[in-house]
Amino acid sequence: MSSPCQPHEHALSRRRMLGMLGGTAGFGSLLQPAIAREVVKQNKQVCLIWLDGGMSQYESWHPLPESQFAGPFRSIKTSIPGVHFSELMPHSAKIAHKISVIRSMSTKDPNHSTGVPRMQRGDPVNRGVDYPYLGSAVAKLLGPANPELPPYIWIKPGNGGFIHREAGFLGAQYGALALGDGQAPIHIHRPDAISAQHDEARHALRKKANERFKAYRGAAEIDAYETSYEMAQQLMARKDIFDDGKLNPRDRERYGTHPLGRHILRARGLLEAGVRFVKVNSYHWDTHGDNFNMSQRLVPQIDRPFAALVNDLDESGMLENVLVVVMSEFGRTPVINSRLGRDHWPDCWSLALAGCGIKRGAMVGATSKDGAWVEGTGYDVGDLFHTIFTVLGIHPRRTNYRHQGQKLAIAHDECRPIEEVML
């Protein structure tokens, strides 16, 4: 079994934390500073929005209309003087002062099959182990923000399930509970014909059988099954999270009725309920063909709900503690191909961050005039992971995993936090 070098013996239970906060207008002046820091740390949450395939930086965060590689769309002013986004992002343009954009990402992998895991694992130095994806890493390093809910939920199109592979060497229990189309896991409702007492007995029998099985065979899959059952039980107690009838119709409109809009709205609900890490996936951004017609239709599908989420978290005060990341495995080529598409471009691309110790209104990174190349400092995904861990209160150098006696860095040893985007 592996464990972080800074285990969670000191972690606060939700009840204890709420008890401490009860009757106070705020915890800053009433709690011991160390405990207050711990409370803040416990509250840190993440929403990773993953646009699978690669969104074009020219058609989103970095339009460069005078570049020889520019697309046909207008660039528009943002809420930050002198900063422009593509006209396909009018809502994000209005909240530019609340977010940071890194326009000088320079990563190494131009392929999807290797690039996606490499990016979501932070591309650490190869030490012969399967590193966890970011969601599993945060679930391990911070634990659940709300012990009544799974720490890592993945909203994705298609089917759901328990995706233990994302946990890598951490072990199956740190895998992602995937919600297909953002819906509650099937069979979340206990049939009326089964009493609570019988249900409890069934679970006890299952656990006993699993333990017996584990005694003689590999444990990973059993751990995964066990974890998924426990998560299902947790969610059965919180069916209210999935009650779409409680959603404000205005919110549905603000986020959009397309899958990504619905899924980001669901993510907001999960964050409000206290899920530590929510990943939202959208597929089919790999616009090798008809990039401009497709970007015209796809980019607004992230623009609207991303801006709505940031605004909502900001208005509720949650943005102080919730980190929102919008990214892909790479950007898209400056050169426009024969099908009016753009191919894969890890050399110079953009992503957006907001909240949780991220500066408001920082536009980071210089590029060549045509946007093809980073000028000056380029940032790799290892730098991004150092940044994310740092703003979550996890020291990326002092914190390590320990796996089978081996001490493993949580992020690439040679990378560092991107100070320009951090408060």
């Binding site: 395939g53 209309p65 020889q68 590689f69 697309g71 046909p72 769309f73 207008r74 190494k108 992998d109 131009p110 392929n111 199109p157 298609g158 397309h258 899958p259 990504l260 959208s282 597929y283 089919h284 951004w285 790999d286 616009t287 090798h288 063909g289 008809d290 017609n293 497709m294 015209q296 239709r297 796809l298 599908q301 790479f330 080529t333 400056p334 050169v335 426009i336 191909n337 024969s338 099908r339 009016l340 598409g341 191919d343 894969h344 471009w345 890890p346 050399d347 093809a372 190349w373």
Partner: protein, 376 residues
């Protein structure tokens, strides 16, 4: 014995599709998406990414285009006036310009329409009588303007999504417009542009369950000279909204009944839509497709046969124009600049350039022998 003089083919030879050959190339260092012969056949106008309207004089041995500069984004459409020396161009920002092109030095546009569309004007057409300019694009409204001054004449509403293509019937009485969703709408020009009927080309539209967007659409329309057939080009069965690969397809409609008579396919490999179609004087239909990182083909059909009559390997192309002599085709083709493909990792850093174009002129008759060229 045929020969090219200033763009015309003199001693007009017999049409011979199977002997068609590429007789000339005009190269350009940026991608061009639209190219048309002028009505007198002596000029070629082309435009695309570099925002300039380029005009080549085909009489010149080494033609360097003169360029008209007003657009501030990619040019998406262009069309010549049939009788006046006027050229109309439109762009992705919804602006239309009218140019006096028969000038020594390119000047300012004669007039402009600043908000012809919410975004992209995807198609332009001038009616046979030269009185009306028709535009269509992203806002799904077909708009009719005066060619004299750009004054609005009327708006034709009914499409539910962006309009890609326009054509007018040979008798000049009917306009058709084709949209993303596979709807072709007929408008009666002679009766105050009233809507007449809708033809079903939904085969050219795909929206898979997991798609994030509609793919395809009626990308091209063309009437046969006898007015009995309308061809609609695009692609069917798109596999995704990412690569957007589909099966290039032409639907041949019987104009009288509005029923699809035939579904035309291509011989070779290609995965993009037919962006342009042209009928030759003998009723042969010709179209050109796109493909990713490979050669495509120029395809000829007799529309009563599914399989093509003939095809020529050619780079991906975005537009076709038929010379007024009926013996030459112009194709706006893609040429790789050498920097294509996934992820540079700095291998191109010192020479990373945009892709290019070649305007290919295909002669639709047997290639003259050396002796014929001398005497021609």
């Amino acid at each position: 014995m045929p020969a090219h003089r200033g763009g015309d083919v003199v001693n007009r030879p017999a049409l011979d599709i199977k002997a068609a050959w590429m007789s000339r190339e005009l190269k350009h260092d940026r991608q061009l998406y639209r190219a048309q012969f002028s009505p007198d056949g002596r000029l070629v106008a082309a435009a695309g990414q570099d925002r300039l309207v380029h005009l080549w004089n085909l009489a010149s041995e080494e033609p360097a285009p003169k360029s008209f500069d007003a657009h501030r984004t990619w040019i998406s459409s262009l069309v010549f006036h049939p009788t006046e020396k006027l050229l109309f161009t439109a762009d992705h920002h919804g602006i239309i310009y009218c140019w006096d092109y028969d000038t020594e030095m390119p000047g300012q546009p004669r007039w402009s329409i600043p908000e012809a569309d919410r975004n992209n004007v995807r198609a332009l057409l001038v009616t046979h009588d030269g009185q009306h300019l028709v535009s269509a694009g992203d806002d799904a409204i077909v708009k009719v303007w005066s060619t004299v001054d750009g004054r609005p004449v009327t708006q034709l509403k009914g499409h539910k999504d962006c309009v890609f293509s326009l054509a007018v019937s040979p008798d000049g009485n009917h306009l058709v417009s084709g949209d993303l969703l596979g709807s072709i709408r007929q408008w009666n020009i002679a009766d105050s542009w009233k809507p007449a009927r809708e033809l079903d080309a939904r085969l050219l539209h795909t929206r898979g369950d997991d798609f994030l967007a509609d793919v395809g659409g009626v990308r091209s329309l063309a009437f046969r000279a006898d007015g009995q057939v309308l061809a609609a080009g695009g692609m069917k069965e798109a596999k995704s909204n990412a690569f957007c690969p589909g099966k290039p397809t032409v639907l041949a409609f019987d104009w009288a009944t509005g029923v699809v008579k035939n579904e035309l396919r291509i011989m070779g490999k290609s995965d993009g839509p037919f962006n342009a179609l042209r009928f030759l004087e003998d009723g042969t239909l010709v179209g050109h497709t796109e493909i990713l990182h490979s050669n495509s083909e120029l395809t000829f059909w007799q529309i009563d046969q599914v399989a093509p009559l003939h095809s020529l390997v050619s780079p991906p192309a975005y537009d076709l124009s038929l010379h007024p002599d009926g013996r030459q085709l112009l194709a706006a083709c893609y040429v790789s600049g050498g920097s294509s493909g996934n992820g540079a990792q700095k291998r191109f850093k010192d020479n990373y350039v945009p892709n290019k174009s070649t305007l290919r002129i295909f002669s639709l008759f047997a290639k003259p022998t050396t002796e014929e060229k001398k005497t021609g």
